[in-house]
Amino acid sequence: MPEVEEADELLVARAQRGDVAAFGSLVERYQDTLFNGIHRMVAQREDAEDLAQEAFVKAFRGIGGFEGRSSFYTWLYSIAYHVVISHRRKTGSARCLNPLSFHQGADEDGGHGFEVQDGSDGPEANAQRRETLERIERAIAELEDDYRAVIVMRDIEGFDYETIAEVLGCPQGTVKSRLHRARLALRELLKDLVV
């Protein structure tokens, strides 16, 4: 049996009995993944942090209702998705993502964020790589909300179609067609990179 699944279940079980420390372990385990997924759907890093916090708190409040039909992270992501949808309704759809916000963490918080530079290549190659990544991120941000959501869930979160359908509350056939159209739209935005 996979160790991760067993450990998650034990932590969830303790959290369901009010063990805040156990829930804290779950936060530590999934905060990066969840934050990354949320930030792909909202423009500002600060908004993504606020929404991630809200999602975790909602998850803690509702953990008594978690019945284990899905993995804990899928359930958590579903909560986060709805938090993002609510945020969009209040603030308007945020289609412009500031790609630079993905790289701010290393400067502001210290030790977080990611490293895009590869020491084996020269500075030009690193700059080109960074530019390519920014273009991809910008293209994702320009997608329609529904297209962006399925792209993030499939190609970033790695959910299968069944899980995506659960999160979105739609049939798997809808997921299939929507994801295909999303990739076509993204391919159009990145056509010079997709050869």
Binding site: A13, R17, F35, A52, F60, G62, I79, K176, R187, L190
Partner: protein, 473 residues
């Protein structure tokens, strides 16, 4: 399948989400059409670009903010300031006085007298059991576990009528029989003395005898109810008293079973006062039969309880021994799930059949320090879930428990068995307070997606001594 149909399936094909027939159709089309292959390659490249994006790490402040928000959510709400202004304080004070007055009146009102009855506190925890403890004959232990044979019996509250009602009915019947006997004797005496009116029996001694009989019968009925309640508590709380070879590690703690063993016993012999009452107030020849009947009822029930306890104890000891024995060679070991294995547990009915969601398998390795307590916990957890289960000793301190439950019950069983002992004790002391804070917060999780029919979980729990469990990892 048209070319457009195939194109629409390319993403799903790329993701491995097509059924067998669809996949073959797409592969056939791809083999035949280079343009489709080129389109598939572009889709793959698009997906790869997205997957290659680096992941943003969460800010270092996120986890502390979450923790602070949760702590704030768990704190009780501060009193609202608006309640303390204007006319509201006076109204609140008046309402508080009124409520206090009502509560005081209800608390100090004398209770209605109950003839021949005594309150029996429900057996819920160790302290309650201690209060019920009464000296009994040595060796009259009631221990063991419920092997399911008790499941067909009625619960103690149903099997035995409330003590006071039973006592009152028996007392009334006793008195009625005795009075009728006295009247018959009086009529016989009156017939012998012609014309002389039969002296009616004076009511006072009859009433007194009736009260005495009622009290004694009530006391006997209560003793029986105690025995049943203690046996039921033992069934719920565990495992009877510990055999010597399974001494509890660490500081000894009085086992629930030990208290039960001291408290339960055979029904007491008829009290002398009953005999005296029967001899002085009623026909002597009626008393022995009545007394014998009462004694026989109580004695029979007590013997039944003791016999079952003895059988449970024997089976329990055999199970412990089989778990502790040296394991046979692997080739000689009986496969799990096949006979012989011991089936235990409450009559929870047949495991639920897998429904549309299918059956999942959940397997856990759980270490234990104390086999005796571990088995008691397993029995209690599965009894709480009303589950039928199979337990197979493996030897060398290992055993496997298998059951099939709906997922929520399976999770509850896992949660209960994986909860540290200190948390269980803490929860017991606090009356289950560790969950009170969580319960105070409303659940706000969105409804889970539709299509969630109940899924049966095949729960396989493998227990081993803590040291060996670590070696097995």
């Amino acid at each position: 399948m048209t070319r457009d149909d195939v194109r629409a399936q390319l993403s799903a094909y790329l993701d491995g989400e097509l059924g067998e027939a669809e996949r073959r159709a797409v592969e056939a089309a791809l083999a035949a059409q280079p343009a489709l292959r080129a389109e598939l390659a572009r889709l793959r490249r698009t997906a790869d670009l997205v997957r290659a994006l680096p992941r943003a790490a969460a800010p270092a402040t996120l986890a502390p903010r979450v923790h602070a928000a949760i702590q704030e959510a768990l704190e009780p709400a501060a009193p609202r300031r608006w309640l303390l202004t204007g006319w509201r304080p006076a109204a609140l004070a008046a309402a508080a006085c009124l409520i206090l007055g009502i509560v005081t009146f209800l608390a100090t009102r004398p209770p209605a007298p109950r003839e021949g009855a005594r309150l029996l506190e429900p057996v819920q925890d160790q302290e309650a059991l201690d209060r019920l403890h009464a000296p009994a004959k040595p060796g009259s232990a009631v221990g063991g576990y419920d092997d399911g044979r008790l499941a067909g019996r009625q619960a103690p509250a149903d099997a035995l009528a409330p003590a006071e009602d039973l006592a009152r009915r028996k007392a009334d019947k006793f008195a009625a029989n005795a009075i009728e006997s006295e009247r018959a004797r009086a009529r016989a005496d009156g017939a012998g003395r012609a014309g002389a009116p039969a002296a009616a029996p004076t009511p006072e001694p009859r009433e007194e005898a009736r009260h005495v009989a009622a009290d004694e019968l009530a006391e006997r009925a209560l003793e029986l109810k105690k025995a049943k309640a203690l046996a039921d508590a033992e069934r719920q709380n565990g495992w009877g008293d510990r055999p010597k070879q399974f001494a509890e590690p660490g500081a000894p703690r009085p086992a629930v079973g030990a208290v039960i063993a001291k408290g339960a016993g055979a029904a007491p012999a008829p009290a002398p006062s009953i005999e005296k009452a029967a001899e002085t107030a009623f026909a002597p020849e009626a008393a022995p039969a009545i007394l014998a009947r009462g004694a026989a009822d109580g004695k029979h029930e007590a013997e039944e309880i003791l016999a079952e306890a003895k059988l449970r104890r024997t089976e329990r000891d055999e199970l412990l021994a089989s778990i502790e024995r040296k394991a046979p060679l692997a080739s000689a070991a009986k496969p799990l799930g096949q006979a012989p294995h011991r089936t235990m547990g409450a009559a929870g009915g047949a495991p639920p059949a897998a429904v549309a969601g299918g059956e999942r398998r959940l397997e856990l390795r759980l270490p234990y320090d104390d086999l005796f307590r571990c088995l008691a916990d397993v029995q209690a957890a599965l009894a709480a879930a009303d589950a039928s289960y199979a337990l197979q000793p493996v030897g060398d301190g290992q055993f496997v428990v298998e059951t099939t439950l709906p997922e929520p019950q399976a999770r509850a069983v896992v949660a209960r068995l994986t909860r540290p002992a200190r948390d269980r004790d803490l929860a017991k002391e606090q009356g289950g307070g560790t969950g009170a804070a969580r319960k105070a917060v409303k659940a706000e999780a969105p409804a889970e997606a539709a299509g969630g029919e109940a899924v049966a979980v095949r729960l396989v729990l493998r227990f081993a001594r803590a040291a060996e469990a670590t070696r097995q990892k």
